[in-house]
């Protein structure tokens, strides 16, 4: 594979994404909601309402995994929702960021080109089918992961800063976040891309592709609910395992995707 061609493909797709309002607004909304609003709400509400206003978690705590129960049992009442939600339960929810960004960019790269009739000239270039495929995958994967990591940095900063009056120390990130961000986030971003590639041969517009790949949010919701109801605890080991399973699925889906992303197949769908 020619690195120069891969770079050209990836850079062009990124340039286009930067001019895509849905991608830009989506990125802003995700950052505001997940990295700023959530930490602010969960750190400021206990301060405003005081100890008496702290949420009654007595019914929730028995449901959550024992490992988390162990961590929060020695905390002050005001600190419990901060650590419980921001330190543990939100970790899988954060995966929505790489998933959505990867799906938007992939929909743009694989289906948007077809929709705007710019794909055909690309097929006349010396780039091989595999180079075209990998270039476009990288164009979606790299920014999605980098954006997720940048958001994690913002989240860490806001959680510690806004949570200082309650926690009185820098306590975040907790150990469960590292494998989630460094291992599971790239895996789920890749899954968003792989699924978009698979549906790209069946849909004609960017929006159709993006909406169809949105169904993957169910994976994130399942992890979140599983953790809230004590069915699963995303400990570092479990996260490594979840990431490995996702990567294995990614490999399978990408293998199918490579077959779909051939000049022959693309020409019949243009």
């Amino acid at each position: 594979m020619n690195a120069r061609i891969l770079r050209a493909l990836a850079e062009k797709d990124l340039r286009e994404v930067r001019k895509n309002r849905i991608a830009i607004y989506g990125a802003i909304v995700l950052t505001v909601i997940f990295s700023i609003a959530f930490p602010l709400i969960f750190t400021q509400v206990p301060l405003i309402t005081g100890t008496e206003g702290a949420p009654d978690l007595e019914e929730v705590i028995p449901l959550i995994p024992l490992e988390i129960q162990g961590v929060i049992e020695n905390l002050e009442p005001q600190q419990i929702p901060v650590v419980l939600f921001l330190g543990y339960l939100f970790a899988p929810l954060f995966l929505i960021i790489p998933l959505m960004i990867a799906s938007i960019i992939a929909a743009e790269a694989f289906v948007g080109e077809k929709e705007r009739k710019t794909l055909e000239p690309l097929l006349y270039t010396p780039a091989t089918d595999l180079e075209l495929f990998v270039g476009k995958v990288l164009a979606a994967l790299i920014p999605a992961v980098v954006f997720a990591w940048a958001n994690f940095a913002v989240y860490t900063f806001v959680v510690n800063l806004a949570g200082w009056p309650v926690m009185h120390r820098i306590w975040f990130p907790t150990a469960v976040w590292w494998p989630m961000i460094l291992w599971v986030a790239p895996a789920i971003a890749l899954m968003g891309i792989a699924v978009t590639v698979l549906i790209s041969s069946k849909v004609r517009t960017f929006m159709e592709a993006y909406q169809a790949s949105g169904a993957l949010v169910l994976i994130v919701v399942a992890l979140l609910m599983g953790q809230i109801f004590g069915l699963i605890f995303l400990s570092p080991f479990v996260s490594l395992l979840v990431g490995a399973v996702l990567f294995a699925l990614d490999a399978l889906l990408i293998k199918i995707g490579v077959g779909i992303f051939s000049r022959d197949e693309l020409m019949t769908s243009i």
């Binding site: 340039r15 009739k117 690309l122 097929l123 780039a127």
Partner: protein, 310 residues
């Protein structure tokens, strides 16, 4: 070795034969016009040549190989289809830079600037292509197609949708490429005047089979019956001349065009006996010119003949 070699090419879509045993070749330096009405199979042929569609049978070779199996061979080919395929959300410079890099052009920046100049878009280089007129986009598409200095340029309806001024510009660009750069050009078109001005050789495709394939000169010389345009010394005698000519066995048809008479001769008949006969009847001929058939007339004749035999 021919630049393009098509042998017994057939293509069927859902049981319908779209191409029926095409045979033609394009030699280095030629500007080849592939003519035919809509649906004749021109774009299908082009896509098979590009390796983007498979032939049902037969071969379509470019530089002696099929582009379908030769990714690197595509480096030697430039393509502009009916749709420009230009990115509206990128500037003209960004569009060209992208393709320069995909084609691994050695000095991409310098080449991009040269192509912007070639297309007359230097002043709009950093404007988004979405703000360009159809003619500007077409010129940019052409610049993109040749940014890697290809040996063969494949064009599909290169002036389609352009105003007359832009058509002339694009046509001039093609002539410049074939003349100065010695580029081989293959162009699909149903714009006959354009083909006549630009192409040295043509093939006329109808219902998936080639009805005529030759140089424009040979087609003109060999097709239809010879015609003469006569200007009489005394225009008052035009009616008498028409009457006389219509009785001659070597004349198949006469038409009056203002003060001139257009005489269509029967195949193989020389012009001199007609002139002699007019002079014998004291009808002076001021000027007699042989009339060439336009490509349009040749094309219509070929298509009508094909329709008649179908």
């Amino acid at each position: 070795m021919s630049v393009i070699e098509v042998r017994d090419l057939n293509r069927t879509f859902d049981g319908k034969k779209v191409l029926r045993g095409l045979n033609f070749s394009v030699e280095k330096g030629e500007v080849f016009g592939f003519l035919g009405p809509n649906g004749a199979g021109k774009t299908t042929t082009l896509r098979i040549l590009l390796g983007l569609l498979r032939a049902s049978s037969g071969e379509a070779l470019v530089f002696g190989a099929s582009l379908a199996n030769q990714d690197r061979l595509r480096r030697r080919v430039g393509v502009l289809l009916e749709n420009n395929g230009i990115y509206d959300r990128l500037s003209a410079r960004e569009n060209l830079d992208y393709y320069a890099r995909l084609y691994a052009v050695e000095e991409p920046r310098a080449q991009v600037e040269e192509m912007l100049e070639f297309a007359g878009l230097t002043e709009r280089a950093d404007d988004l292509v979405g703000t360009f007129s159809a003619g500007m986009k077409r010129k940019l598409g052409l610049a993109r197609a040749i940014i890697h200095d290809p040996e063969l340029l494949l064009l599909d309806e290169p002036t389609s949708g352009l105003d007359p001024e832009a058509q002339v510009l694009v046509r001039d660009l093609i002539l410049r490429l074939s003349g100065q750069e010695a580029m081989t050009v293959f162009m699909n078109s149903h714009h006959l005047a354009e083909v006549e001005r630009v192409c040295s050789k043509v093939a006329i495709l109808h219902h998936g089979s080639i009805q005529a394939f030759d140089t424009v000169e040979h087609l003109r010389a060999g097709s239809g019956m010879p015609r003469l345009s006569l200007s009489l010394a005394d225009p008052e005698k035009t009616a008498t001349a028409l009457d006389l000519l219509s009785q001659l066995p070597s004349v198949s048809r006469t038409e009056r065009e203002g003060n001139r008479i257009l005489v269509t001769l029967t195949r193989g008949s020389p012009a001199s006996p007609i002139l002699t006969r007019l002079i014998q009847e004291d009808i002076g001929v001021e000027e007699a010119t042989k009339v060439s058939r336009s490509l349009e007339e040749i094309y219509l004749g070929v298509v009508q003949e094909a329709e008649g035999s179908a």
